[in-house]
């Protein structure tokens, strides 16, 4: 019955293509680590080295702004943001990158975008080991609230999938979006308080933080990882609502245009 499979067969498809999804995710991860000499340790080493450098430069500067544990503060923000920007960028390229197979075999096309994001998510989960390590070294509080961070992290995952589907769709029709998106991610990285405290931004520009779903997730996680507190439930709510909106827009856009993908690949 592969001829007339449509959107409402989502769940049936998902079960049928679970093995394919697993294959694609493990392929991405295996290839990434096979290509680098240090293998899997690279994903530990890279954030660790950046953290050390930025800590040396900025930690004394931002001490007066209430940033107690700069290494953990920085790492929390960086890991979350890296997952979002890496995941959406990989999803953006996923459809074009699978052009030859899309033209010959029917597979639900969202599988390609989803697998790109999930492989980034696995890398992200692995890199949390570094975060816990740094927390232990810097005597950060290990509290029950760390378990609660799974909720904002799930919100971030779905937000990333939603945005990923949007950019994957646009990239099929306009391939220069890749360059624009790279610039946009750099801007967003600087606009999000990742390596600096939110309070140094002038009050008139705080809206950039207030309406930033990624920052809401980072904030929730910092409450637990840096301060050992439960996060502000409104921040979580904002993250969850943003994720839901991104998913709805992403799925609607993707399903509306997916039959036209093949004409532009």
């Amino acid at each position: 019955m592969s001829g007339m499979v449509t959107g409402h067969r989502f769940l049936y498809n998902f079960r049928k293509y679970k093995f394919l999804l697993y294959q694609l995710v493990s392929r991405d991860i295996k290839i990434k680590y096979r290509k680098s000499v240090l293998g899997i340790f690279w994903s530990f080493l890279e954030p660790l080295l950046t953290m050390i450098v930025l800590t040396i430069i900025f930690s004394t500067l931002f001490k007066g702004y209430g940033v107690e544990n700069y290494p953990v503060y920085l790492l929390t923000g960086r890991l979350m943001f890296t997952f979002f920007s890496g995941g959406t960028t990989a999803a953006m390229r996923s459809i074009r990158g699978s052009a030859s197979i899309i033209k010959t075999v029917y597979v639900p096309k969202y599988i390609y975008s989803l697998s790109a994001i999930l492989s980034n998510f696995v890398t992200f989960l692995l890199s949390l080991v570094v975060l816990f390590l740094v927390m232990a070294v810097t005597n950060a509080p290990f509290t029950i609230y760390i378990i609660f961070t799974s909720l904002p992290i799930v919100a971030l995952l779905f937000f990333t999938i939603g945005v990923g589907l949007i950019v994957a769709t646009i990239n099929v029709f306009f391939r220069d979006i890749e360059h624009l998106y790279g610039v946009l991610m750099t801007l967003l990285m600087y606009a999000t308080p990742i390596f600096y405290p939110p309070s140094i931004v002038p009050a008139s520009f705080r809206f950039i933080q207030d309406y930033n779903p990624i920052f809401a997730v980072i904030n929730c996680c910092r409450s637990a990882f840096v301060y050992g507190e439960l996060y502000d439930p409104y921040q979580l709510l904002f993250a969850l609502v943003s994720a839901a909106v991104a998913m709805i827009v992403g799925l609607a856009l993707f399903y509306k245009y997916q039959d036209k993908f093949i004409l532009h690949l």
Partner: protein, 251 residues
């Protein structure tokens, strides 16, 4: 084995299918050009009918040939039946598992070993892990790549890649086989083997959709055929009748 034209035996039904493409003079695939053309009002596109109201049925065991010149819409029709494209209008109904033997190297990962690629490509074709594990030795043996199966694909010669692709694609017994030209790959020895494998697949109970320029091959393999010309179905019927008419037209 052709089993007669009854409703239960129908495996493919193509009903009033139309396929339109929008052709623009130049391909606009980036935002910059799109905006410039939008401002200059140069975003014209011309509708092109690749298929005009095509209807036919294929029954279980049929060896169904599609003949026609380049640009007749043969590949578009195959893509529609394979489900990778959707028709502008009309319906396509397909019953049973389907394997397209088109661009068999698609979906391989160059950094993956032969072993890993068997599972990756198998998953793309919709097979389960258990099925692939069962068939694994058979695939490797047929491809004659035992010594290279744990070597990354980028170190394979093109002949080796073709052998692996062929072995994965044909190691199953699909109910419907989509074939674009007869495939024979590799060196002379493997070519002979792959031709035999193709023939055995074509002679079994499977329903076959076969596209070719060569009416000789179509006559050899098929029992029924259609002739497409510029998106229109000219004739449909027993293979010799259709091929005779088509050959007459070419001359």
């Amino acid at each position: 084995m052709f089993t007669g034209e009854t409703l239960e035996n129908m495996v493919i039904k193509v009903e009033n299918v139309k396929m339109n493409f929008n052709l623009s003079k130049e391909k606009t695939d980036n935002l910059k050009e799109y905006f410039i053309k939008f401002i200059k009002r140069e975003l014209h596109s011309y509708p092109f009918q690749a298929l005009k109201d095509i209807s036919f049925e294929v029954y279980k065991g049929d060896k169904f040939g599609i003949v026609g010149l380049n640009g007749a819409g043969k590949s578009t029709l195959l893509k529609l039946i394979a489900g990778v494209m959707k028709p502008t209008a009309g319906n396509i109904w397909v019953k049973g598992s389907m394997v397209p033997l088109l661009e068999m190297g698609a979906g391989f990962d160059q950094d993956y070993t032969g072993r890993e690629n068997i599972f990756l490509k198998g998953a793309l074709l919709g097979y389960s892990r258990r099925f692939l594990e069962e068939k694994f030795d058979e695939i490797v043996e047929f491809s004659e790549l035992e010594d290279f199966i744990d070597v990354p694909l980028k170190n394979y010669s093109s002949g080796m890649k073709a052998r692996l692709a062929f072995s994965i694609a044909t190691m199953v017994e699909p109910e419907i086989l989509i074939v674009d030209e007869v495939l024979a790959v590799g060196d002379a020895k493997f070519r002979q083997k792959s031709r035999e494998k193709m023939n055995s697949l074509l002679n079994e109970d499977a329903t076959v959709l076969f596209v070719s320029h060569s009416t000789q091959q179509v006559r050899e393999i098929c029992n029924r055929a259609i002739w497409l010309h510029k998106g229109e179905l000219i004739t449909e019927g027993p293979v010799d009748e259709v091929c005779d008419a088509y050959e007459k037209f070419i001359q």
